[in-house]
């Protein structure tokens, strides 16, 4: 059942929010030990939310999401609930307020089931850097679900939650979405407030959705998007009725196929599934145009300067003084800082903080950071040129289906290259979505659709049109069918 279907059933009285919430809590109870998708389950909060939603519906109030359960990535602050960000550093942090995303979805009547596992501080592509242990892919428990929103992806793929929030800094919604057979939607930078979302790289971070369908993504996006005075980078552009725009025809849509995304790094079966999907859009009346974004192959090295630089600055707030982990018996203030941070952060987070510290340090700033921000301009210009010719860009979301747990954890650069197709959209602040387009050896693969700034409606319409023609998004992991 999708979130939209549950919402409709609640309004027709087929079942109550309390009943459907209990159903998902039971599924979490049975499966979470093996998947490790949730860090915290909040059954009491969920039942209270559900009772309130049922009362609203009984009064004839509420909208399409009222009473529908959801899970939040543990990067979003939730008042009175542990908000760990997958880190030992915040393993004792009970947020004193709600993130805007949490607040808005609660106001829409959604029921919070709990907080999902994630790569530590959203730094990872496999969910293996979490202090709470790796998440397992419901399609194959020996494989990763992707990351960093791996817990949200596994939870929705195994139907422990109908829909979940995520965040995407370099592909952290789209990549796990692709690897678990979900619709992973990253909005335009600034479309959704970052208030209360633990910061990793502030010029790249954006909140989004892991959903079963484009329709669900449209409903949830509509409820969470919009200007927020508490986030100065959130944009005052009106929020359209995304669900109402889903029916747009594909006829006449100009689709750009990114040549650089079909190089030799692309695994064969994934490439085949994506090409078949492109033919499907052509059959629906869209026009396919192959084009080149020559600077896009530089997006991974650009990202691994810009994102660590911003991370080293953002994570300087964790000092062992005001909140978070503190070492025992510090000798002096420097020792307090260094040991609290050394103990509180995991290996990948420390690696990125140090990379960022280095590229921002005197003597290296121009060669690395300034250079990367200039290359970022070139990548941005490539996208702008492309969107003067086409309406959307399409290609694979990831080079391969889900890989084995442990396969890449010791080699950071190989891990970083997982995001080779997703990072460009973050650097340019563009909206992008991954939709399921096939199975390769029983593992899902994703088609990525990228649009110009604030073209969320166009992306959702394309994803929805594809899902009307195909049933890849309805496929369930055999163990959870």
């Amino acid at each position: 059942m999708t979130a939209a279907e549950i919402g409709r059933d609640l309004h027709t009285g087929k079942y109550t929010s309390i009943e459907v919430t209990r159903h998902f809590l039971e599924r979490i109870d049975r499966a979470n030990q093996s998947l490790n998708a949730f860090i915290t389950v909040t059954p009491e909060r969920a039942m209270a939310d559900a009772a309130r939603a049922d009362a609203r519906i009984a009064r004839g109030e509420g909208g399409p999401l009222t009473g529908v359960p959801l899970a939040h990535k543990d990067i979003f602050c939730t008042d009175g609930v542990l908000t760990s960000c997958g880190s030992r550093m915040l393993s004792n942090f009970v947020a004193p307020y709600d993130a805007t995303v949490v607040e808005r979805l609660a106001a829409a009547g959604m029921v919070m089931l709990g907080k999902t596992n994630m790569d530590e501080f959203a730094m990872g592509s496999s969910n293996e850097t979490s202090w709470y242990g790796p998440v397992r892919n419901p399609w194959d428990g020996t494989r990763v679900p992707g990351g960093s929103s791996g817990g949200s992806a596994a939870a929705v793929a195994a139907r422990l939650a109908p829909v979940a929030t995520g965040t995407d800094t370099g592909g952290s919604i789209r990549q796990p979405g692709a690897l678990t057979g979900l619709t992973g939607f990253k909005p335009t930078y600034g479309r959704v407030s970052r208030y209360g979302m633990v910061a990793f790289a502030s010029s790249l971070d954006q909140a989004g959705i892991l959903a079963q369908s484009a329709e669900d993504a449209a409903l949830v996006l509509g409820a969470m998007a919009g200007h927020d005075a508490r986030d100065s980078t959130s944009v005052a552009v009106p929020v359209p009725d995304y669900a109402a725009g889903l029916g747009r025809p594909m006829k006449g849509l100009r689709i750009g196929i990114i040549r650089e995304f079909f190089g030799e790094g692309l695994e064969e079966g994934t490439g085949r599934a994506v090409r078949t999907a492109l033919e499907g859009f052509s059959a629906m009346g869209a026009t396919l145009v192959e084009l080149s974004l020559p600077n896009l192959p530089l997006s991974v090295p650009t990202y691994y300067v810009v994102a660590p630089a911003e991370c080293s600055s953002n994570l300087s707030r964790f000092d062992g003084v005001r909140f978070g982990h503190r070492c025992s018996e510090p000798r002096d203030l420097l020792d307090l800082y260094r040991r609290s941070r050394g103990e509180g952060f995991g290996a990948e987070v420390k690696r990125r903080i140090m990379t960022g510290t280095y590229v921002l340090s005197a003597g290296y700033y121009d060669a690395y950071y300034l250079k990367a921000q200039k290359v970022r301009s070139l990548i941005n210009a490539d996208f702008r040129r492309a969107f003067s010719e086409v309406d959307v860009l399409m290609g694979p979301t990831t080079p391969t289906p889900a890989f084995a747990i442990g396969a890449k954890v010791d080699d950071p650069i190989t891990m970083y290259l997982n995001d080779i197709y997703t990072i460009g959209a973050n650097l340019a602040g563009l909206p992008a979505v991954s939709v399921p387009c096939g199975l390769v050896d029983g593992l899902p693969v994703g088609l990525q659709i990228i649009g110009p700034h604030f073209a969320e409606e166009r992306l959702l319409a394309a994803a929805h049109a594809w899902q009307l023609e195909t049933d890849w998004h309805r496929k369930l992991p055999p163990l959870f069918a």
Partner: protein, 113 residues
């Protein structure tokens, strides 16, 4: 297992070889206020060198006359609000997350002898 190194093939150029020393990494760790153990040190010497070598391929990009990009969206103006107090005093609540407080103050080791 699929060989991910093939993805390198699509890059225009390989990065340079960068070799950080143990001393370099100790210096970076001090700047970053991170304690790194003896066991961790060689791992970071190796991986940070490789990462810097990897990102060094940016140096081959021609960026003469290109403005650095600071923000993904153009023409954004900072929104302003009225200069009014909008927050209430929640010190006790916030300090509930602090490792060590006394009389409303955050405690740290003695700074001035």
């Amino acid at each position: 297992m699929y060989d991910f190194r093939q993805v390198f093939g699509i890059f225009p150029a390989f990065g340079a070889i960068v070799t950080l020393t143990r001393r370099d990494v100790e210096g970076i760790a001090l700047l970053a206020r991170l304690e790194i153990t003896e066991q961790e040190l060689p791992v970071y010497v190796e991986s940070l060198s490789r990462i810097l070598g990897f990102v060094d391929q940016l140096s081959a990009a021609v960026t003469d006359g290109v403005e650095p990009m600071a923000h993904p969206l153009e023409n954004q103006v900072q929104s302003l609000r009225d200069d009014l107090v909008t927050e209430s005093d929640r010190r006790d609540c916030y300090q509930g997350n602090a490792p060590l407080v006394a009389a409303g103050l955050y405690l740290v080791p003695k700074v001035i002898e």
